[in-house]
């Protein structure tokens, strides 16, 4: 067994430097690495490029790193829930690259699968296509999109073991498994760190080979962005 366990988020992110590129898992506030985000805010590392589907909300998730102006550039598909983000973007303080969600996912996947690029029809004929190679396959046009190149991937899982095997829960899976595969160094924070051997090999979503550091996070808030319910009748 190769032991990947580190003590906590501060240790896990200790060598992240100014100007580096980070992937952060999650969709909205669902399945985000809360502990590592807090640690990044405490560390104060800056000029970061963050690849994440969304940018959090004003006072939670990546929104916390925007407030402290630690992010130089965001690469996301949708940022509608964050007023501070929109303000920094419209005023030119923050660089942003908005890309289609499937393109974002597949550029992560390509990196994790060791492929330099992919072709996708998303964005053909739109401003997303500007400056990109277009190739025709079987009468349909596709854009050449490159695999992401991230220094670190930071993901959140439900359960993990010391060798880095991960299991995600429900829709908090989202971008986490593909980002876990894509980082040069992958940090996983988990709700429950279990003994090696406890996880059923058939149920593992991310094999430990992709994970370099793992720790059990604490005080998960798991904030709900849109609480929608139906009455008990």
């Amino acid at each position: 067994m190769i032991n990947k366990v580190v003590k906590n988020a501060d240790v896990a992110i200790a060598d992240i430097k100014d100007g580096q590129t980070l992937m952060l898992g999650g969709f909205g506030l669902c399945g985000i690495p809360e502990n590592c985000i807090n640690a990044l805010v405490s560390k104060g590392v800056k000029e970061l490029t963050c690849i994440s589907n969304n940018a959090g909300v004003d006072d939670f998730g990546i929104g916390l790193m925007l407030k402290t102006r630690q992010v130089k550039k965001m690469i996301s598909s949708y940022v509608g829930e964050n007023a501070e983000f929109e303000r920094q973007l419209l005023s030119g303080e923050l660089e942003v690259e908005l890309i289609p969600q499937g393109t974002l996912a597949t550029r992560c996947m390509a990196a994790g699968y060791g492929m330099p690029a992919i072709f996708t029809p998303a964005g053909v004929g739109t401003e997303v296509a500007e400056g990109k190679e277009v190739r025709n396959f079987n009468g349909k046009e596709y854009l050449l999109e490159y695999a992401f190149d991230a220094d670190f991937a930071i993901v959140k899982a439900w359960k993990g073991d010391a060798s880095g095997n991960l299991i995600f829960r429900s829709t908090s899976r989202n971008f986490n498994p593909i980002m876990a595969m894509a980082g040069k160094i992958t940090i996983a924070e988990v709700e429950e760190l279990v003994e090696v051997g406890e996880l059923d090999p058939d149920q593992i979503h991310t094999p430990g080979v992709f994970v370099h550091r793992i720790f059990q996070g604490e005080h998960y808030e798991k904030r709900i962005e849109q609480r929608t319910v139906r009455p008990k009748s």
């Binding site: 969709f27 909205g28 506030l29 669902c30 399945g31 589907n53 996301s76 598909s77 949708y78 940022v79 509608g80 829930e81 929109e86 973007l89 419209l90 942003v96 908005l98 890309i99 289609p100 969600q101 499937g102 393109t103 974002l104 996912a105 597949t106 992560c108 996947m109 996708t120 029809p121 998303a122 964005g123 053909v124 004929g125 739109t126 401003e127 997303v128 439900w158 829960r169 429900s170 829709t171 908090s172 899976r173 989202n174 971008f175 986490n176 498994p177 593909i178 979503h205 798991k222 904030r223 709900i224 962005e225 849109q226 609480r227 929608t228 319910v229 139906r230 009455p231 008990k232």
Partner: protein, 220 residues
């Protein structure tokens, strides 16, 4: 009488067939889930990684790990499955999803759609919309016929940044059901009860083709 949002959703729900896998966008499309005809089997896809989206949870049973693409708390159903974002867009790109229903700011008479950006004002992003419109074989746009300023959203050409080109074939608004013709132009198929062809023509900036006798929309 122009249709309400709920009535637009009801009319669109009639397009859903037994055995369909359907992706519903945010806004009016989300309401369509409430009106899926009984007695047919339909599976709703949420592009954040769920097939078999169920209704909102009962109060007190919300699970922060279980949301839809609109970030709303939802439930699963017997037979639901969960997957990562790459697989989610894999099934979209490979056309495993039979029907996509989404909102729009503008649709042009050649089937272009704009729904993700108003330069200088609104920069929320395209989310999964560009992937969906680029790959879906069957897309229905659900939207208001005119914007808040009273300007037509059915145009000769889109003025806003595009989401996709030549991809929209059907539109349902509070006034009408229209097809986008392969050679260009909107073909009026149905009108809301009591709404005249002339009223629809006035609200449509793009080319509108209408037969002499256009039936009224039926929702029940």
């Amino acid at each position: 009488m122009a249709f309400s949002k709920e009535e637009i959703a009801k009319r669109i729900a009639k397009e859903i067939k037994d055995g369909y896998y359907v992706n519903l966008g945010i806004g009016i499309p989300t309401l369509v889930a409430n009106y899926i005809p009984t007695g047919i089997n339909v599976v709703l896809q949420s592009e954040n990684g769920l097939l078999g989206m169920g209704p909102f949870p009962f109060e007190g049973e919300e699970d922060p790990d279980l949301i839809n693409a609109g970030k709303q708390t939802i439930t699963t159903l017997p037979g639901s499955s969960i997957f990562d974002s790459a697989m989610s867009f894999g099934m979209i790109r490979a056309q495993k999803i039979d029907l996509t229903i989404l909102g729009a700011m503008e649709v042009s008479e050649n089937g272009d759609i704009a729904n993700w950006k108003i330069p200088g004002k609104m920069v929320k992003g395209m989310g999964g919309a560009m992937d969906l419109v680029a790959s879906a074989k069957n897309i229905i746009v659900a939207m208001q016929h005119v914007n808040k300023a009273g300007e037509s959203k059915l145009l000769p050409a889109c003025t806003l940044p595009l989401t996709g080109v030549k991809c929209i074939k059907k539109i349902v608004t509070e006034l009408a059901v229209l097809d986008v013709l392969p050679e260009g132009g909107f073909k009026l198929l149905e009108r809301a009860p009591g709404v005249s062809v002339e009223e629809i023509r006035k609200a449509t900036a793009g080319k509108l083709y209408a037969d002499d006798d256009v039936p009224e929309m039926v929702i029940d």
